[in-house]
Homo-oligomer: 283 residues x 2
């Protein structure tokens, strides 16, 4: 496994791999790797000849009051985990390499897809993500890029961007990796106290409950969602959102219709830790 | 020479060329090729093993009252010209291939570099250019891209975009090709009547006159520029702008300083035809 921080060196290495006829699957991460990330790498192995993982905590996607400084960093463990998964290249640039210094003149403007869900709650979040992933796609030029379903709005936005910008990469969605009690794995789970960790699976249970009601025929789930939010608050969560969104437009939907695909998604805080989770529902 | 309109076919062809060890120089055009374009192709030949030319009249960079419909199209002549220059691939997609149908969610936001000059006069112009060139760079993935100095604001904006977006392409600026009487070559010169064509070199002469004064020591050229604009109006031009801009920031500059690089640039109409021209001044 090669660990590379220079863009020029990475390009050279990837060009060589491609000249030898290899296809490339790319797994962009912010490190603090857990079983969920490893499942992305395994999917990457199935898709292509060589796997490239990036580890970079992208400052552009954190708001001023968010957890950029405290975001878990554990490069040594991450490198061991990548090596064990048979990753060919780990790209871990620093901020100077990714963004340089001096004024930046270009941003990517995302229309409507980022209005709700995490985009609604975290202004600038998807501008930061599209900025860095657009750069990474141009640097790595992968055949496949693997992202997790947990960040489903990210997946949908980046899929569209790749299509509209002709990145020539196929995005592949990996299912959500969960702990035994159902909690979606996340690097931010490390922030949870023992007490919070016990409560945390409640978010997924709320989603599962609403999912069942929808599959049993509830086509206007608003009251149901409101009630589940009350339940979550009673358990100690502070709600951000819990709603059904169109998979196509990322807009909230009040009245479901069969034949469509929806995302039942929630975000809630336990203390300062923000948890997200979702279920895809094909009706 | 291969003429290709499909993106998938173009990618395949370019991947093969690259696997064989070829470097690629790319010349994006809107067709109606003249000697200026041919000089870009010759520069491209010097820079790389294979030359790819795109011919595509990009609707996104025309304003609602601009000349998209009447813009000259002469594909057969253009193909012959490319063939004669030893071009390897001509990419001539249609609008469906470049933009597809349905809602577009992504735009590129350019900050301040497009406030003045052609960006100031043509709202949305550089959003349209960055959108299509970002796509073309991602499709062609060239080592070099050749653009003319005539569209110097385009060159500067695309250079920065390529850097900030990590396109991995080196932009090369070709000097302005001129008719014997000094008129900068442009596909739009075809719109000029015989009478207008006679007047047209006046724009370049005005720039040359101001350039000489600046090189002779005039560091605040405002009055000079105003006077030249009056002269142009007297000759039958309708002025758009005539000014000195910072090469770095694309902002107008009132007081020049030695050690800096400036663009002395003008745009003016003859009838409905908009002419542009510029001179780079290293002080």
């Amino acid at each position: 496994m090669k660990q590379i921080s220079s863009i020029a060196e990475l390009r050279k290495k990837i060009t060589n791999l491609k000249r030898q006829g290899n296809t490339i699957a790319f797994v962009p991460t912010m490190g603090a790797l857990h079983e969920g990330h490893l499942s992305l790498m395994r999917l990457a192995q199935e898709k292509a000849d060589k796997v490239v993982v990036s580890i970079y905590v992208n400052p552009e996607q954190f708001g001023p009051n968010e957890d950029f400084d405290s975001y878990p960093r554990q490069m040594e463990d991450d490198l061991k985990a990548c090596e064990a998964e048979g990753v060919s290249i780990v790209f871990n640039p620093d901020d100077e390499i990714m963004y340089g210094s001096g004024k930046k003149y270009f941003k990517i403007k995302v229309d409507t897809l980022n209005e709700h869900m995490d985009g609604g709650s975290r202004p600038g979040f998807f501008e930061g993500i599209t900025l860095v992933v657009n750069k990474l796609f141009n640097i790595v030029e992968p055949d496949f890029a693997i992202f997790g379903q947990k960040d489903i709005q990210q997946f949908q936005i980046l899929s569209r961007m790749a299509k509209e910008f002709n990145h020539g990469v196929e995005l592949v969605m990996a299912p959500i990796a969960r702990a035994n009690d159902g909690l979606a794995l996340s690097s931010r789970n490390a922030y949870l106290s023992d007490q919070q960790r016990k409560i945390a699976p409640g978010l997924y249970r709320a989603l599962k409950y609403v999912e069942k009601q929808i599959r049993d025929g509830v086509m206007e789930p608003k009251l149901l969602l409101n009630h589940q939010q009350d339940e979550l608050e009673a358990k100690g969560f502070k709600n951000d959102y819990l709603n059904v969104f169109s998979m196509e437009t990322m807009q909230p939907v009040e009245e479901l219709e069969s034949g469509n695909t929806y995302i039942l998604a929630g975000a809630a805080y336990l203390g300062k830790t923000r948890l997200i989770d979702n279920i895809i529902i094909d009706l």
